[in-house]
């Protein structure tokens, strides 16, 4: 890796789903080591597409994707660096495809060439670190929604990535599980980008936020009309509160 600090760089990236109006228009984005960034914006504004382009699951019609200082062009380029970026999918059922939790968490390490013993050890250790002891023999499709989400996170963390991309991680989670996710994210020494509609969650887990509007990225420096009567970080980013400000918690 030529540049250790720069993790993800998108340069004027555009993309459209077969012939429709562009999902992303000249988006430039940069993520350095240790940065914790939120990404907010309405449905269909291109947030998930941005993640997919970063992972090489989709390819831009123009612009450059640079990961860890290397320009990505073909599938082989992505294949080499993809395992350093952990993408948490919106739907945990897409992510968990093995019959048991242990096998699912060990899937990544095994693909990275670890031995069975090592992969098992990494998987158990990752589960333990997320407070999921005793989950290893559980059957994935029988887990609850919150459990599925945390196990999905374990499958991603087991690959020891340098960056996490979290796509609406709090969707469908109750207050307790959301709180657990906040603590986990805050304890991680990793750079990550979080897509969420839960501004509260963004505030508690990130240092700054970008807004995505109709395929374009608005940074905090841009002035966004804001008429809230309360104060907190990221106030200039358009957002919706999940509970009213008067209930005391932020």
């Amino acid at each position: 890796m030529k540049n250790n600090d720069s993790l993800i760089t998108l340069e004027k990236v555009s993309f459209s789903y077969n012939g429709q109006k562009p999902a992303l228009k000249h988006v430039s984005f940069h993520l350095s080591a240790g940065e914790k960034v939120g990404l907010v914006g309405p449905n269909g504004s291109g947030k998930t597409t941005l993640f997919f382009l970063t992972m090489g699951l989709l390819h831009p019609s123009s612009g450059r994707v640079v990961l860890f200082g290397q320009q990505m062009q073909r599938e082989e380029d992505f294949r080499k660096v993809r395992q350093n970026i952990g993408l948490l999918f919106q739907d945990a059922d897409d992510q968990l495809f093995c019959p048991t939790v242990l096998e699912d968490v060990a899937f990544g390490p095994l693909n990275q060439g670890r031995s069975k013993g090592e992969a098992r050890e990494i998987a158990l250790q990752t589960l333990r670190s997320l407070g999921l002891d005793g989950f290893e023999e559980r059957v994935t499709h029988k887990l609850s929604g919150g459990e599925k989400r945390l196990v999905s996170l374990a499958t991603v963390l087991a690959m020891k990535p340098q960056v996490l991309l979290l796509d609406e991680p709090t969707t469908g989670l109750d207050v307790n599980t959301t709180q657990r996710l906040v603590s986990i994210l805050n304890s991680l020494d990793l750079a990550y980008i979080v897509i969420s509609h839960d501004m509260d969650f963004i505030v508690r887990t990130t240092d700054k936020a970008y807004a995505m509007v109709q395929g374009q990225l608005a940074t905090e420096e841009e002035v966004v009309p804001h008429t809230h009567v309360h104060a907190h970080g990221h106030g200039r980013v358009p957002h919706v509160h999940t509970h009213s400000p008067k209930d005391g918690t932020r």
């Binding site: 992972m55 952990g86 999918f89 739907d91 096998e103 990544g108 499709h141």
Partner: protein
């Protein structure tokens, strides 16, 4: 659906090496299936019942499952006595019931039930993922094993998607009837399920790519046959030999 109730348990049969269960189960079934003498069924029946007892499966549920299969066999009883040629027992205008037909139906009934009992005892006591890995360890092509796993994993997801769609229909007052609207609605339902499954397959593939999938599945499963397993297999093989002996000697 697919609750795998029988796979939870801690009997000697449950603990048996899944590879040996599959192999001995298959061997046993083939021998039972090609047997034609009543006497040969005896050791087979004892073996199947014995396994059942050792596995301590809930008898009521086992009975329900047997009932389901015997429902199909009932059709053989309605057909075979009239269609197999031989000595006539009754005549009823154009309908002739033959002794040979009844004997054949009886043979099939006994054989199916013995095989079913043995398979329930051996295979249904194995968790699905152990079964898949055992198939892989026995040289079943990797693609088949993967298909087996994915089918098992996503059957539930597709089923709950089906239930969601069904609920969406019901809350808007849909009632199935014999009319064009019903047929069209069901066609939409199936079409929707297909599209959703296809899209999910695409997302699962993407999730797998993100985790370094390169076309090969590595398994964590390790199998080791222990003394107990060898003993069990020996009993099964001995029973099978007894059947072969009674059948052809």
């Amino acid at each position: 659906m697919l609750e795998e109730d029988f796979s939870r348990g801690n009997s000697p049969v449950h603990r048996m090496d899944p590879r040996l269960k599959l192999v001995s189960g298959a061997l046993f079934s083939v021998i039972v299936a090609v047997s034609t003498r009543w006497l040969a069924y005896l050791p087979g029946g004892f073996l199947a019942l014995g396994l059942m007892m050792i596995a301590r499966l809930p008898l009521r549920k086992v009975f329900m499952r047997l009932l389901m299969v015997n429902g199909l066999i009932l059709f053989l009883w309605l057909l075979l006595p009239f269609t197999v040629g031989g000595t006539a027992l009754w005549k009823w205008g154009p309908f002739v019931v033959t002794w040979e037909g009844i004997v054949l139906a009886a043979h099939i009934t006994i054989r199916s039930n013995i095989i079913l009992l043995a398979f329930l005892a051996l295979v249904s006591t194995t968790p699905v993922f152990a079964l898949g890995h055992a198939m892989g360890a026995l040289g079943v092509p990797e693609k088949m094993v993967q298909l087996f796993f994915f089918t098992y994993r996503y059957l539930h997801v597709i089923h709950s998607e089906y239930q969601r769609l069904m609920r969406a229909l019901k809350i808007r007052g849909f009632r199935a009837g014999t009319n064009l609207l019903t047929y069209r609605t069901y066609a939409y339902l199936v079409g929707m399920l297909l599209v959703r499954s296809y899209e999910r397959a695409e997302r699962v593939r993407q999730a797998m790519l993100c985790r370094g999938f390169n076309g090969r599945f590595y398994s964590l499963g390790e199998f080791s046959a222990r003394g107990e397993d060898i003993a069990f297999t020996a009993i099964l093989v001995f029973g099978s030999i007894a059947m072969v002996f009674l059948q052809w000697m």
